[in-house]
Point group: C2
């Protein structure tokens, strides 16, 4: 078992096994309370009497999820950070599902795990649960992405899809597609109605394939010397106005 969990640090095995892991009390609790199926919960030996870990064991029992207590030497093999937060959950990926109601966020080549995780967390904060990832985005089940979402990964609908096709479908449903670019109109008020917000990659912004599909493109007005904003910050500013 340790060997298979360790392999989940690599994308190819996450894909093969259709599983990923989440570390920490908040993440594991959110997994157990989500629509994801948890395959197992692993607890570091010595931590099973911690109050918050006892609470996790209770939920796991109730949901009939196997709980394993592992010695430190096994934890060392599987953890993805220096300081293991005492507990890890193994999650089964879900079947590809459709998007729900409401606004949609499309990520066009977001490569940095911290940025992707933060965007998912921010979307969840603002109640936006539809997130489409282009094929060249970083894997959302990468341990660093999962960690940066702070549990929000389990509250949103994530779909990896061809953005051009997906945006075309959304437009047919009446969505207005807006993007953040460095040469758009100054962001003051967003259009009314259902929106599909496109956030581009850290180095190249919105791709040349997607740009022609935008109904409007905006720039967040600034007056300093920075060349651009971080994509997660820029996305957060727009989401706060949705």
């Amino acid at each position: 078992m340790i060997k298979s969990i360790k392999k989940l640090q690599q994308k190819k095995y996450r894909k093969e096994y259709q599983q990923f892991f989440v570390e920490g009390v908040k993440g594991v609790t959110d997994l157990l309370n989500s629509s994801y199926e948890a395959a197992a919960v692993c607890i570091e030996s010595g931590r099973e009497k911690d109050e918050d870990i006892i609470a996790i064991i209770d939920i796991a029992k109730e949901k009939k999820v196997p709980v394993q207590v592992l010695p430190e030497k096994d934890i060392k093999q599987i953890k993805s950070t220096d300081t293991f937060p005492g507990v890890m959950g193994i999650a089964n990926m879900k079947e590809k599902q459709g998007l729900g109601e409401g606004h949609v966020i499309c990520l066009d080549g977001v490569m940095d795990p911290g940025n992707l995780g933060t965007i998912i967390r921010t979307a969840d904060w603002f109640g936006i649960t539809n997130i489409v990832l282009s094929e060249n985005c970083v894997d959302p089940y990468n341990p660093k992405v999962v960690r940066s979402t702070m549990g929000s990964l389990f509250h949103v609908q994530l779909i990896r899809d061809d953005l051009e096709t997906r945006i075309g479908e959304l437009k047919e449903k009446g969505y207005k597609t807006i993007g953040l670019t460095l040469d758009g109109e100054s962001l003051d008020k967003l259009p009314e109605g259902l929106l599909c917000l496109v956030l581009g990659s850290e180095s190249h912004g919105v791709s040349k394939e997607v740009k022609p599909l935008l109904d409007a493109s905006y720039t967040i007005p600034g007056k300093g010397e920075a060349e651009s904003l971080n994509v997660a910050v820029a996305g957060g500013i727009v989401m706060s106005k949705l």
Copy 2:
């Protein structure tokens, strides 16, 4: 020289030598064009004919900054990331200076290098150039912070100080002190006049020492299931309203 540069990856040597380094064309260019003194520019052998590196060599010559071309084996010793972007600048830290005009951002225990760098970049975007760091913030000259600022480190005034003292002084000058907390009033409109915005630590928010000094505390209204926003995103949303 290689040995001393390598040491700058560690905080204690940065403090001892009063130097830090910045990697990449944008960062080194911003350093050379800033009020910081550049001690040297190091270029990876084979890259000295790149157009953007030639531009850097020109500025360095004009500013009488020594330029060193280093073989790959030396670069391997000093670089802070896997892929070295061709050029590195060594900067001398500045004497402690006062704050300039305008709003002030106070960071109360921000620990994550990426968050600190992103906050500096965002402040620069919005033209806010006064940033005060509490003693327990991560070192702003940490390579990861420098990298995340994307050159904005060289456009702002950074001061490390005791926050309580500094906020007291700002209040006497007529600044209103506002903070982001999870139990504040819903952020709609900010107060008029000069503001001192306090952003708390990733795990504990605004510290119990600083909280009583706040004239107002705000929460960014959300309707999803996330427990909190990332501090750099939350800070960005407030800065966009300043």
